[in-house]
Amino acid sequence: MSIDTSKVATTTSGAAATAKPNRAGAVANWADERLGLGTLAKKNLRKVFPDHWSFMLGEIALWSFVVLLLSGVFLTLWYVPSMGEVHYEGSYNQLRGIAMSEALASTLHISFDVRGGLLMRQMHHWAAMLFIASMMIHLLRVYFTGAFRKPRELNWVIGSLLLLLGTLEGFTGYSLPDDLLSGTGIRAADGFMKSIPVVGTYLSFFLFGGEFPGESIIPRLYTIHVLLIPGLLLALIAAHMLLLVYHKHTQWPGPGRTEENVVGFPMLPVYAAKAGGFFFIVFGVCAMMGGLLTINPVWKYGPYDPTKVTAGSQPDWYMGWPDGALRIMPGIESHIFGYTIAWNVFLPIIVLPGLMFTILLMLPFIESWITGDKRDHHLLERPRNAPTRTAIMVALMTFYGLMWAAGGNDIIAIKLNLSINQISYFMRVAVFVGPLLAFFITRRWCISLQRHDEQKLLHGYETGIIMRSPEGGYSERHLPISESAAYTLTARSREEVYDPEAQTDANGVPAPGGRLAKLRGRLSTLWYADNVQKPTAAELEEAHHHAEHEHQLQGAMEGRSADGHQFDGHHAVEGETLRGDH
């Protein structure tokens, strides 16, 4: 029968002749004739993705964004973005009869009178935490492994924008319930805006539709939260993923892996299954957290009242670091020609985050300018093999961490029974000294690890076997590492310091921008200073020669008791005893 139908199809449409006579084939044919999916899918269905646990971090961010979209749509079905005053008459006893905005009343309605509503609210909030946290860790992974280098600089920029937008999305989101805590956050944001020179009060009055708090801020934040920022996030995530597919994923160096290829599992079936399965896991973890872990219990805070505040008021954790800067900033204000500049607010909360974000955005460009490296890079670098880069990020992390801790100075003071004044004074110094210390320690630490790698490569690994020579001297036995481990250690490029002298032309005339080039040369020298380069073929040869000599001396032990292989897994040891047979 089926043969008959396909014959019928042939007579009416020439292209259909190639279609398989089954249902799926017919659908595929229908779609391909209209969309040309075949050509599009040809390359991508079996596209290869390399495998490593750290490549999963960005996936957490992607999937938690999907959870945010789904749970967010659910919440919009009941949430009322209005500051109109109502008297709460819902199920929650303690707040019944109390005047509050419709925004908070509807949030309470979702929490207490909609089945699964509290679950969805808490899932949404936990997924937001996961979204931002995983973006940050993904960013660190990309930076520490050098995955941001050419040709992926633009994807770094897109990723940084995603982090910025995600943070703003989080702020607008936790402001929407219009409870006491979120109102306090908006009140502070109003103070931040007013500190901006010249236009500050205008910005505040325009955003709030008049004097703080007004009745416009919640509906306006709602539009920003559910339409403007999610739209931008979606577009940027799409661009992020398209570039990822176009560039093909980076991979760790190793046997068979080069700058020219990509080794891993095909998209269909393995990667699709793993990534798809992982979506369910992220979703499931969010559901578990939403069901079991209370977050943002707005009913405990009550409605916003501009005359009230709770002790220990804190923004969500990702807004904590600029808040810390705000806390430790000395109270400085200037008065010029009858105008006021509130440096104590403007610098830490408006200028500093902008500055830090610009630095973050520029990191790939700063590095490639200093090193003069314009090659494509698809093999990842271990953090130790780029000591200056690693140290820069650890310094930035230290700055971030100290600022974040300063944002919790009241909690630290209470929990550890310390003076809040002394914590603040300490932090004022620590945020400058800490990153510098972290930079130097990290850099030297990386170089030490590089030296360790070189030792392993040239002289083998430490077996833990102590040999006693006939003269009575003791030495630890070293054995060569495996071929693939040795290759992996050497699979990195040799570093070249940028030399401004080399930039002069044939007649010895220096290239334009001589001063800048000199600075660049000096920075490049500092960037690579003391790094350990991988050995040359000759050095490795010599080291092996030396090892062979040592081996001969210890040759009598080979294949006998305690030859050093009992513990290293290099050959099977079943039936062998450490001391040999008696």
């Binding site: 500051m83 007004g214 095909p266 079936p269 499931g284 079991l292 008021s313 109270g331």
Partner: protein
Amino acid sequence: MTTTHDSQGGGAGLEQSSDGHHLPALPPEEPLANPGLPEHTWRPTDVDPKAEKRAERQVAVLFGLSAVCTVLFVVGYIALGIGDNHDTVLNYGASTVVLGTTLGGALLLIGIGIIQWARKLMADHEMVEMRHPARSSDEDREVTLKALNDGLEESGIARRPLVRNSLLGAVGLLGAPAIVLLRDLGPTPSQAAAADPESGGLERTIWAPGMRIVRDVVGTPIRASDLEIGDLVNAEPEAIFPTEENGYPEIEGVELNVAKSKAAVILLRMDPDEIIPGEGRDNWTVDGITCYSKICTHVGCPISLNERTTHHLLCPCHQSTFDLADSGRVIFGPAARHLPQLPIMVDDEGYLVAQSDFTEPVGPSYWERSHEDIGDQGEADL
């Protein structure tokens, strides 16, 4: 199953690389040659039909359990009550706990099942794909450049600067409507002040001469004799609590919130000897009772943490600390200005009332804020 992907599933890719076909030639100084992809190791599920069957069962059981969780979710949705008299588990609302754990279980089990399937049963041959530089080929670039130049040439955009520049100008100007349209988002600060000459804008509050100071929750007026030394009262202007008796106009919603956000005050009674009166503020207190704005001069949080022995007031948001015995001077933290003080007196019936509105703007600093009343510059760079 195991035998088929042996020869097909990615095997081709493995062979390609293991013959060294793609590996670059070794530069002379490179210490070690790329040894090529290691040999594929078979998993138990590839070679042992029993292990394969077991894995298959495991995956199916995981999916089955997920379905059970989903059914339990629906049962929990119907069975468990919410609202005022809801069921509880460990003090949590039972509905939320059960819906969360069953939904989470259903999703996690599907995820774990799929990943188990991928790890144990799908082919695990690594494949090799070649990369291509992102850069277009020289030929493509040439063709593109030519097409671009042809197009631009035909448009005449370079030859007709008048057309080009007038278009650029016209399109650029379109930015103006986009900005102008935002103008009506709100009144300017001066418009807000003009709209309500009594209490509008950044420089005035609802306080007026003779207005009683009342408790912030119940709205009852306060007699000087009600307060002991060390007592702190969160207070509001009486106009916030209009009654027929006091005759203040009805106030609610936005107006109420705006009024409260500027007019909230703190009353503190101290030993009169401890107070260091500010310049011209000798008669601003009543028997050691002082009144200050509750709105922090840093970013505007309401301040309320009082240290009784030192009469220091701490803002819970960013820990600015003010000395209420010394004109609200900043003694610690990021605030740069003292707390505005409300001059108070006693009316005929013995109640505390304001002598006037605040003599300076309350709340955070802003560009247009004049500093004539401050008089304590440089006090705060602590």
